[in-house]
């Protein structure tokens, strides 16, 4: 197809898009924003809420807000708001800290679960190996290495495809990404989780690039632990707090390496001895950063009437259409897609390799098509179904074609 055909096709797809109305809930301009997989756009519900948190809750009520404005219970309340988006029943997710810090809690916690030894050292259990996605966003690997060092384990980087063959009775835990941050490849969470469990190990999934873009099914697939950020497809704002999922039946044995006072069974008892709170709360650490956290809570309201299945359907239609438009507009042989063509292996982004990708992205941004560049030669385009339309997709591909 060519422009005279693709533009009407985009219009038609937009006209029948059941999520088209969601765009009005975000602050957007004339640019095509395809970087929601890095920083989600601002939901219109956020500025007023933040102003209320600052001026009234902090400025006027001050410390009373810990009770009266629900500050103290925000981590678990907002966790329950994220839960349906990742297929989790309530009571299993707490929000707080960065993704890196939550990866640390999860990996050390997983080694301890695998070892089932009270002192938490892995040596005597025989499970002293942590497998980590070799293609992961680097922080997961760095933090997993630290967790391995502190728990006496060995860290072994493997690709997700290699995991089934690498599992053994030595495996304590496996840390994988649901969607690869660079290529946009979606990994097979159900079958990898089953393989990890068959080997007697603990499965940890990083959902940063999948939560809010596609169904995750944490409970359904028996995932043990999961972490994720909230500033990509969940639109929580720059550096908004991450979250930790601990499956309900594992919670009594979850033994956090960061047992801050917020995770104590009686935090205001201020006793010198530590007794962990029941439930997901034991994933909490210190005082939650209320401004960022309540901005996230407001941002999550946009999901009230949206099903994640509808989001997934549109996401695949957007990436399919983008690949179709790229094929039509971009000279053959100029770019190469790193994103798998099969729907079952595709997240909500398209990664294209091309020569001089850094400069190409700068020129795209100048032309109002906002994606990002990842070393050494990758153009990343994220498609947020809540606010990206098919007309945007056609325009982005068309402008990309004009770069060459």
């Amino acid at each position: 197809m060519s422009e005279p055909e693709l533009r009407p096709k985009a219009e038609k797809l937009d006209a029948t898009d059941e999520l088209a109305g969601m765009r009005a809930q975000f602050v957007l301009d004339d640019a095509v924003y395809l970087d929601g997989n890095s920083l989600g756009a601002l939901p219109r519900s956020v500025p007023g809420r933040v102003e209320d948190v600052v001026r009234r809750q902090w400025g006027s009520l001050r410390i009373r807000s810990w009770d009266e404005s629900g500050w103290w219970t925000a981590p678990e309340r907002i966790g329950d708001r994220i839960a349906p988006l990742v297929g989790a029943a309530p009571g299993q997710i707490v929000v707080g800290d960065s993704t890196s810090v939550n990866v640390f809690k999860a990996v050390v916690g997983a080694v301890r679960l695998a070892a089932e030894k009270e002192d938490g050292s892995a040596g005597e259990s025989g499970r002293d190996e942590i497998l980590v996605d070799a293609t992961t966003f680097p922080t997961d690997g760095y933090i997993a290495a630290s967790a391995a060092r502190l728990t006496g384990c060995t860290l072994r980087p493997v690709t997700p495809d290699e995991v089934p063959g690498a599992l053994s009775e030595r495996t304590a835990a496996v840390l994988l990404n649901h969607v690869d941050y660079r290529t946009g490849r979606l990994h097979d969470l159900p079958s990898l989780t089953a393989a990890i469990h068959a080997a007697g190990a603990v499965a940890i999934w990083d959902l940063c690039h999948s939560a809010g873009a596609l169904p995750v099914g944490l409970d359904e697939h028996g995932v043990d632990l999961a972490v994720g950020c909230t500033y990509k497809y969940l639109n929580g704002g720059p550096g908004s707090p991450a979250y930790l999922y601990v499956r309900e039946d594992l919670q009594p044995r979850f033994d956090s390496p960061l047992p801050g006072w917020n995770s104590h069974a009686d935090p205001f008892g201020m006793t010198p001895d530590y007794t962990p709170a029941p439930g997901a709360l034991r994933g909490r650490v210190g005082t939650p950063d209320i401004l960022s956290m309540l901005a996230l809570e407001a941002a999550l309201e946009v999901w009230d009437d949206v099903s994640i299945e509808a989001v997934r359907t549109k996401s695949l239609a957007l990436t399919d259409f983008f690949l179709e438009c790229v094929e039509a507009y971009v000279p053959e042989g100029t770019v190469e897609s790193l994103t798998p063509p099969a729907h079952a292996q595709r997240g909500s982004q398209v990664a294209l390799r091309c020569p001089d990708a850094g400069n190409v992205m700068r020129r795209l941004i100048d032309r109002g098509v906002i994606g990002d560049f990842r070393e050494p030669d990758v153009l990343r385009f994220g498609f947020t179904p809540l606010y990206v339309g098919f007309g945007d997709v056609e325009r982005a591909a068309r402008v990309l074609g004009e770069m060459f």
Copy 2:
């Protein structure tokens, strides 16, 4: 003295208070707010800044703000803003994460510094004991216990007075509070740090209850590592990010247990191998929570023309005057001060024991005197010199006297 004498005395003290004008920089009401040692009042500079961060920096500039709005460098830039308040030269403090998470970085980092062994285990160095303030705010003790467990150390709780006698060639690190959260007692940072160093151990100070209330002198006294929160006397807002100080000469050897991608020498290289950044940056972990962090940055502007020495002078005058008024207004034998009378041992709060303290505090709050209650029998009154006046102090003591 009695009321006819104390009220004019308060007026006279207010009239000559060189910090009296600072109060106008905060949002306050008719209450006497003596809980700034829990949550500082809202600085007037904050709401407009937060609105700009949300609407323009996030809403409009979006990802461009990581560069253009200085988001990426905020942790070290804001650290440098805190530095003069705690007596640190620039380049030694990064802001981010909660106090608990920073305590973890500091204690594990300290054990590794003490051991000077690349694998970070303390066993072979012979330094396998961590001393922790037995009267500490509980989270420090809980986190120190976790750090001890993960590094193969023993945790030994001692009172600060007992530290000199407890130090030995086995001591790896000592974690102390500058000011006790409950009693308001100020500990002798210079001499305790010197004693810790004489024993060859690493000194970590928790500044939560001293930073912004009195001079700390981190560089002057050769403190190794320090942590602190920013929502008390620094008025950063509920759960605003904490900070970590690593003395400059120790930075090349500081080995964080939370080596997230933000602490990498080349974070956007996204290499699988971890190379720590030089300087204080290696105390960073994950993506900083920008909303909370930039609210803090605005809050710190109130310090531009204030010397911490002037703050200390006023703080002691406020607590002296409060104790004087309490003696005058409160029936003898009803309350007992836990706060040392000697200036050298006093922070910026007064803690009074009294029967039925929980109820007394509720009634005080109903009467517009806001302090807080700490189990089992402590009334805590914090005196923030930037916005508490002598008239407030007289009124608080007078209302307290009417409770009995």
